[in-house]
């Protein structure tokens, strides 16, 4: 305490700004909260948590964010009570060069530290995860689980046969359709709603896999045949989706004499792995991973009917699942007996009968067969007598958590820095503005924003390129407000309150105006480049990413700083 007093005295006598802003105290307590956050996560994280919750989302799921929010509010209020009590600007103390820049940066750092206490939480959880998950074991088990996967039960319920897909020589499913409408409308249980994007994610019908097509965004002719790609929102987001093109190119590059993959098949192909790699973002990459590491081995086992090998990986998988607390329950004898009886053929492989040259009638047949097989007596009896159960979700969560240990915790930096910047921005506004003017600025800003929005909508009616027009009109209106504010500042007979509100508005608007101006410049200067399989956008100025918005907002505040002394010194 004595040392603290000495240090505090030193700050007061030599660095009044640091002393007054309580920067070090705020940062210290923020870091202390980081410690609490880390420790909480460390203590709360258990094997069960790792199986049920993704660590990257654990901060939200554990409700620690509520404690965090409360802590930030308390810290900010206590700090504000100390800080705003003594205002050097309003007391006309000399403001040295760089005073407001330092003040703003200190605000930014201290608030960002407080807001960023979710990072140590995730770090704490990761640290514990590192202790609980043994890399060698998990890597070894990953291979075994993936090899065992095609022969295991699926889903959380009883053994489900849907979505079962096998690699060659049991051809994976594929679908190539010549005409969009002809295919889907011919389905016996055709429901228009199923093709609309809104319903896509909520469709649980067993025919879901067949109904996923949404739009015909892409088509290509190969050997005189027109291929239409039925896309899902998950995969293709629009015509400028670059992801789609990688698949598209892949499709084209495949041997046309062999079977080509449909997008949905690719997804399923990836899903066949029990322990996929979450280091990849796209399922497509997992397909490659599967092909490289496991496909050949599985083919060999199936072709050579190596039941012992299958049993071995199934047994090892059980040992691993037990150790890591993943709920599972199946009998290897029954399971292997099943595969023997079916000769590695299940309804999933019915897709093999469906060929490019076949008509849509085949699809109806396929659908019918699938349903019949699923309801077969054998299947019913088997699932009723023997519980085939594997908590596949828990296993995948565990592996996703394991793979996440390699990922940087700082990946999602934007929210923290934006909230930190916003708080610093607001804190500075409170510091420079009179209380009444500040309170009046809020409704005035609201009214102005609504007015500008309405005016922009009205004025942009009839223009085809609405994005540019909307931005241009908004910017013009903001410019007019800024101009009026500066004009008011120069007038002597304007009541101070009006003048001060107008200057507050300039302060509030500037970050948005700069960002909008940047966006507009980008819109006018960018080039859209198309070719057969590729779509690119060439930007003359950097794209308006969160990092740029952050930089522009910071610049706008720093640009405003010289105005502060001027506005404060103006007589009433």
């Amino acid at each position: 305490m004595r040392q603290y007093r000495k240090w505090n005295k030193y700050l007061l006598e030599n660095h009044p700004l640091c002393w007054h802003s309580k920067f070090f105290q705020m940062s210290f307590f923020a870091l202390l909260f980081w410690g609490i956050s880390w420790l909480s996560a460390y203590l709360m994280t258990s094997q069960e948590v790792l199986n049920q919750t993704l660590i990257r989302n654990y901060y939200e799921r554990s409700n620690f964010y509520l404690i965090h929010i409360i802590a930030v509010i308390i810290a900010s209020v206590v700090w504000a009570l100390y800080f705003y009590r003594n205002n050097p600007l309003k007391s006309f103390y000399p403001i040295r060069k760089g005073y407001f820049t330092k003040l703003f940066l200190m605000f930014f750092v201290q608030f960002a530290l407080w807001v960023g206490a979710n990072y140590p939480f995730t770090m704490g959880a990761r640290y514990k995860a590192n202790q609980l998950l043994h890399a060698t074991e998990l890597e070894q088990a990953r291979g075994e689980l993936n090899l065992a996967a095609p022969f295991m039960p699926e889903g959380e319920g009883n053994y489900q046969l849907m979505e079962r897909i096998y690699p060659d020589p049991f051809p994976i499913s594929y679908s190539v359709y010549d005409e969009y409408s002809e295919v889907w409308t011919d389905l016996p249980d055709y429901d228009e709603r199923a093709y609309k994007s809104d319903y896509l994610y909520y469709e649980t019908d067993r025919d879901y896999s067949m109904k996923q097509a949404l739009d015909t965004n892409f088509q290509v002719r190969i050997d005189g045949r027109k291929y239409l790609f039925y896309t899902t929102l998950e995969k293709y987001e629009g015509s400028d989706s670059c992801t789609s093109h990688s698949f598209f190119n892949h499709f084209v590059s495949m041997d046309p004499k062999r079977i080509r993959l449909h997008e949905y098949d690719v997804l399923n192909y990836g899903q066949v792995m029990l322990a996929p790699s979450f280091a990849y973002d796209e399922s497509y990459s997992n397909v490659k991973y599967f092909q490289t590491h496991y496909a050949k081995q599985i083919h060999d086992w199936v072709l050579q009917k190596q039941y012992d090998s299958i049993r071995r990986v199934l047994e090892r998988s059980q040992v691993f699942l037990k150790k890591y607390g993943i709920a599972h329950d199946w009998d290897n004898d029954v399971l292997l007996d099943y595969w023997k009886r079916k000769d590695f053929s299940d309804p999933g492989s019915l897709f093999t009968s469906y060929r490019t040259q076949e008509s849509s009638a085949n699809l109806k047949r396929l659908s019918k067969l699938w349903m019949q097989e699923s309801d077969s007596t054998f299947f019913r009896e088997m699932t009723e007598q023997t519980p085939f159960f594997l908590d596949r979700g828990a296993l995948q969560t565990l592996y996703e958590n394991y793979d996440y240990l390699e990922e940087s915790v700082w990946k999602r930096w934007e929210p923290t820095l934006f909230i930190g910047l916003g708080m610093a921005w607001l804190a500075l506004l409170v510091e420079i503005s009179g209380l009444i003017a500040l309170l009046l600025t809020i409704p005035v800003s609201g009214v102005l924003i609504i007015t500008i929005s309405l005016l922009t909508v009205v004025l942009s009616q009839g223009f085809s390129d609405s994005g540019k027009v909307l931005l241009t009109i908004s910017l013009t209106l903001f410019g007019i407000i800024g101009g009026v504010a500066i004009w008011l500042k120069r007038k002597n007979n304007v009541p101070r309150i009006i003048w001060e509100i107008s200057m507050n508005l300039v302060y509030v608007m500037t970050p948005f105006v700069l960002s909008m101006a940047w966006l507009l410049t980008d819109l006018y200067t960018k080039d859209d480049l198309f070719d057969a399989c590729d779509y690119q956008v060439r930007h003359l100025i950097p794209e308006l990413t969160p990092a740029w918005v952050l930089l522009l907002a910071t610049c706008s505040i720093i640009l405003y700083l010289p105005m502060i002394k001027m506005r404060q010194a103006k007589p009433e």
Binding site: E13, N14, Y82, M566, A569
Partner: protein
């Protein structure tokens, strides 16, 4: 240099004459004039010794004289008293209430104390706020002869203390140190200077007090210390005596006068007050405002030509009887406001004769004052 030695000599005389308190305050002024950290340290240690327990006056005096002898050796450069502000034909009109202030003419120089008097609602605060650049004026000119032309920097050199000062938080000493630090007084000097000013304004014992623990008078002293730490060029005080007792009023005014005329850092002071006599006593110039108009202006170093005698009188005598008693002196006017008589005589310097008449007539006098040169006579 010589002026400083004279100042030290004067302090010595105060001490030798037994005016220990006054002598001590003047001693602090001398220490401040030297702007020497060693002297600050010595003063602080002397005060600490003095305040730690009841001390023998003689011992204290001898220590102070010893200190004075050391101070006497200091070389204190004397600042030229330059013009700080010139106001010419200044006007301000409020649309509401139709109040109009002006035309105001005044010139403030370093070391000047200007008294601003007038009844309530006659524009004293408005004028002070205009001088402090808080309020804009309509007409006239106001030229500050201060180094910085920029508004904010200019305002950092004008210190305006309003009637109702704002609440502050934390300890008294921390607040003062923060102010000094903002004004570039850093490191050890910060601590020393703050303590010296606290000694000067009698706040030594209260250095760790909070705002709520101080009386109104000490809050005003705090404001004054804070003000002097800012090294102002012009100090504008609105009713600084309002919350002070009679003794404190005299002390504060005396302190202000003394500090305004500091050899090292003379400042200009404008203060408004209802304590007419006290203000007049210390002011070099007095501006009287009536309904916004400066009806009288007494310039510094200028002897006013008095053409009549005005006397304030409280005595156990009826109005008729009093008129009869003073018949020979040819009174022009005798007003009674319920408590005090206000007697106006056509001839100047007639105080002696009035007093003689009253004494001869065995009138019991409670209070009598010649206000012929005081702005009090303009209050009706």
């Amino acid at each position: 240099m010589i002026q400083f030695q004279e100042k030290v000599g004067e302090v010595r005389r105060h001490l030798q004459g037994g005016d220990t308190d006054l002598g001590f305050r003047r001693l602090v002024d001398c220490v401040l004039d030297t702007q020497n950290k060693d002297h600050y340290r010595q003063l602080i240690s002397l005060t600490d010794w003095k305040e730690s327990e009841e001390r023998d006056v003689e011992e204290l005096c001898s220590k102070m004289i010893e200190f004075l002898d050391e101070l006497k050796k200091s070389n204190v450069p004397v600042q030229q008293k330059e013009r700080l502000l010139t106001v010419h034909q200044l006007n301000k009109t409020y649309s509401r209430g139709k109040f109009c202030l002006g035309d105001i003419d005044l010139e403030i120089r370093q070391g000047d104390v200007w008294g601003l008097v007038g009844e309530n609602g006659n524009g004293k605060t408005t004028l002070l706020r205009i001088l402090a650049r808080e309020l804009a004026y309509d007409k006239g000119t106001m030229n500050y002869a201060l180094p910085s032309g920029k508004d904010y920097d200019l305002r950092s050199k004008l210190v305006y203390i309003p009637q109702r000062t704002k609440k502050w938080y934390g300890t008294l000493k921390d607040n003062l140190k923060l102010t000094a630090a903002h004004y570039g007084v850093r490191g050890e000097l910060n601590e020393l200077l703050v303590l010296v000013y606290m000694i000067r304004f009698g706040l030594w014992k209260y250095r760790d007090f909070y705002w709520r623990e101080l009386s109104s008078g000490y809050k005003m002293r705090f404001e004054l210390v804070r003000t002097f730490l800012r090294s102002p060029k012009i100090l504008l005080l609105d009713e600084p005596l309002a919350n002070l007792d009679v003794l404190s009023q005299q002390l504060i005014l005396d302190d202000l006068k003394s500090l305004a005329q500091s050899l090292a850092n003379p400042i200009g002071i404008v203060l408004s007050s209802q304590q007419l006599y006290e203000v007049e006593k210390v002011s070099d110039s007095v501006l009287f405002l009536k309904e916004g108009k400066p009806t009288h202006l007494k310039q510094a170093n200028e002897d006013e030509v008095v053409r009549q005698t005005v006397i304030e009188l409280d005595a156990r005598v009826g109005k008729e009887e009093l008129i009869a008693l003073l018949q020979d002196l040819n009174p022009e006017k005798l007003n009674f406001n319920g408590g005090i008589y206000l007697l106006t005589l056509a001839s100047p310097n007639a105080m002696g004769e009035v007093l003689k008449k009253l004494v001869e007539s065995n009138v019991e006098i409670t209070y009598i004052r010649d206000i012929s040169k005081s702005t009090r006579r303009f209050f009706s």
